[in-house]
Amino acid sequence: MGSKEVKLENLVLTEFKAKELLKKGFSVVKDVLFDEKQVKKILSDKNFSGFNFPVVLKISSDFIVHKTEVGAIKIAYTQEDFFKTLEEFSKKITKFKARGILVEEFVKGQEIIIGLKKDKTFGHVIGLGLGGIFVETIKDISFRACPLESVDFDSMLNDLKMKDLILGIRGKKNNVAELKKTVLEISKLALKNSKLLELDINPLILNEKDCKIVDARIVMEK
């Protein structure tokens, strides 16, 4: 998909705006957006602080649907890495009509997708499954209609073939309670927003401690 597919009938909120909205009620990875001017200053001063490495750099543009496919996302493991990638990305700002470069903390854990869709029959439905590349490859995702109850989360998790990856393997116990809370909060969000057509939280990173939104997209009815 490219910019052409972003139709005007509905309002599409890509990562930056979607996450700004979600920050109000959900745990989102720590990030900061640098506009073109700020990027130039960082590059000339060679001065960047406030994050532990590694960090993730993303070109923040409403015209990019899949960042990986157009090379608009990279991990920087060192300062040197960081400045190199920032320089590379800064050259693409105009091309992608980007608002700037987004720098995020890098969170390690299991990638999960939480999706929301307004279904023509059942109204808002929520999907839970393995995120990242697994979404398109194994399509291990289970749905329930809103409002979701606690038992619905348990049973949808139980539907997943790869549920053990979410629960945690090799002695690790992921913070599933926090994941459940997030899913139930998304259900409440849907109830309050009838114009919400689609919401992708993908990935959300789950580990033993955290359950954090890394990327998101929202489609609203205009």
């Binding site: 029959t121 499954g129 749905f143």
Partner: protein, 482 residues
């Protein structure tokens, strides 16, 4: 269970003679709590589009209805239909009419419904097709407006009809010769599709699975699946509900109604149109993954309905719930004991159990001791329990008794290959008696060849659950014990 058939026969024409021209007011259906009783317990029925022409829908319906109901044929083009006065319109009928069944050309339907409205008929069953299903939205809206104007409840249009084995209402437009009706029973069958509904009714009749009500609801112009499910949920004559659906009309209400019903009655659903198309034009992953199949399956789980994958399972699972409803609470586990007289069948059974979410039971030592006493010394006592080719009725009996008393077992899968020489027809009684003890469900797997057919039929007469193939049996058990 089978008295209904005979009752129908004896009533056929004499009923008509006695009641058709009588002016006595017959008891009319209650309109109170059970809203849809006005359809299923209707006594005075106007058949609009009744026909004297053999095999026309209006003729078949007429014949099916007059067996047990007072039928007023309506057809302005003829004077007499099967020796009875044909009314020009429902407005000519003096008696109160509970239900109008309409089988005229689609274009005439709104007008005859208008007449029903004037006659103060509150329930219509519209068999006719040619409405929204063919894209004729204009006619559809016209019909909808008339129904709304007179506040008439409508089943259909574009449906096969309805059937009630208790009130003996047979408003299905297929002849009783070509489509055998199932016996009276406790399973209700709700079907969006008429064709599939008809086919399955025939299968149920063949398999001696009893039915309470059958509803083919077609386009659901005003009453939809939720109204029917709610009604069946409250229906004392229905214990198990089977539902074939392609598209649910009112999703939100469905969730509410189905959640409530499934607390009391098993709700078994076959969803047609499960291809995973999704919406390709969507912008999000969720949008493209949330196709009908995944969303419906999720919702069915959410409401505690049991989703099956094929037509056969719809009724085999329902039949297990029907036969063993008194066990359901007692069964705590999923441990299956296979008893067989053929090694290969035993292996196929255990393979399928291993693949399912069921477990193979472990015979208690005391059970093993009991079994060893009547088995040849070299026999292997375990699971599957192979009673071997020289098995006798007696050996089956003793094996069943021992396993029924074993608390390590939740359910018995009994393979009976009737070809082995030392068993005979008395095996039916042995199995039936064992089942009557109501200690554990016993489910029989029996090859369905010509020689064994009569034995299987005798077992089914005694309400023993029989399957032809182990995999079908195990799939049904898996859904039953879920």
């Amino acid at each position: 269970m089978k008295k209904q058939k005979n009752a129908r026969k004896s009533k056929t024409f004499s009923t008509y003679q006695k009641t058709s021209f009588s002016t006595e007011v017959k008891k009319t259906a209650k309109l109170s709590k059970q809203g849809l009783d006005i359809f299923f317990k209707a006594e005075n029925i106007a058949l609009i589009g009744a026909s004297h022409e053999l095999n026309k829908i209006g003729n078949v319906l007429f014949k099916n209805l007059i067996g047990s109901k007072t039928v007023f044929p309506v057809n302005p083009n003829v004077e007499v239909i099967m020796n009875r006065h044909s009314f020009k319109s429902v407005l000519e009928i003096e008696e109160k009419i509970d239900l109008a069944i309409i089988a005229v050309k689609a274009e005439f339907v709104p007008d005859v419904v208008e007449q029903c409205g004037k006659k103060k008929i509150k329930a219509v069953l519209i068999i006719s097709s040619g409405f929204s299903e063919t894209g004729n939205e204009k006619l559809n809206n016209k019909l909808k407006n008339v129904l709304d104007k007179y506040n008439i409840k409508c089943i259909g249009p574009n449906c096969l009809g309805i059937y009630d084995s208790y009130s003996e209402l047979d408003a299905i437009f297929l002849t009783q010769q070509r489509l055998k009706r199932p016996e009276q029973g406790k399973i209700a069958f709700l079907s969006q599709s008429g064709a599939l509904g008809g086919a399955l009714l025939g299968n149920m009749a063949d398999k001696k699975i009893g039915i309470s009500k059958f509803i083919s609801y077609g386009n659901a112009i005003n009453l939809n699946e939720c109204d029917f499910l709610e009604y069946l949920g409250n229906d004392a004559e229905t214990k198990v509900i089977c539902f074939y659906v392609e598209q649910i009309k009112d999703g939100k209400r469905f969730i509410e109604v189905a959640k409530k019903i499934s607390k009391e009655k098993p709700l078994i659903i076959l969803k047609g149109g499960m291809t995973e198309q999704g919406n390709k034009a969507t912008l999000s992953h969720t949008g493209s993954l949330a196709g009908d199949a995944r969303v419906y399956s999720g919702v069915f789980k959410q409401v505690n309905a049991i989703q099956v994958e094929n037509m056969e399972d719809l009724f085999s699972v329902a039949s297990l719930f029907d036969k063993f409803s008194d066990f359901k609470e007692k069964i705590k586990g999923k441990r299956i004991q296979v008893i067989t007289n053929g090694g290969g069948y035993g292996i196929v059974c255990s393979d399928n159990i291993a693949k399912s979410n069921l477990e193979l039971s472990e015979l208690a030592p005391t059970t093993k001791t009991k079994i060893k006493k009547f088995m040849p010394a070299f026999a292997n006592i375990g699971n599957p329990l192979d009673l071997m080719g020289d098995v006798t009725n007696e050996r089956y009996k003793l094996a069943l008794e021992a396993c029924l008393d074993d608390t390590n077992i939740d359910l018995i899968l009994l393979v009976v290959l009737y070809q082995t020489p030392l068993i005979n027809g008395d095996i039916v009684e042995i199995i039936s008696q064992a089942q009557k003890l109501r200690k554990k469900p016993i489910i029989v797997v029996m090859n369905n060849n010509k020689y064994e057919e009569s034995i299987q039929e005798s077992l089914e007469e005694k309400e023993v659950a029989c399957f032809e193939f182990p995999e079908d049996a195990i799939r049904a058990i898996e859904k039953f014990l879920k």
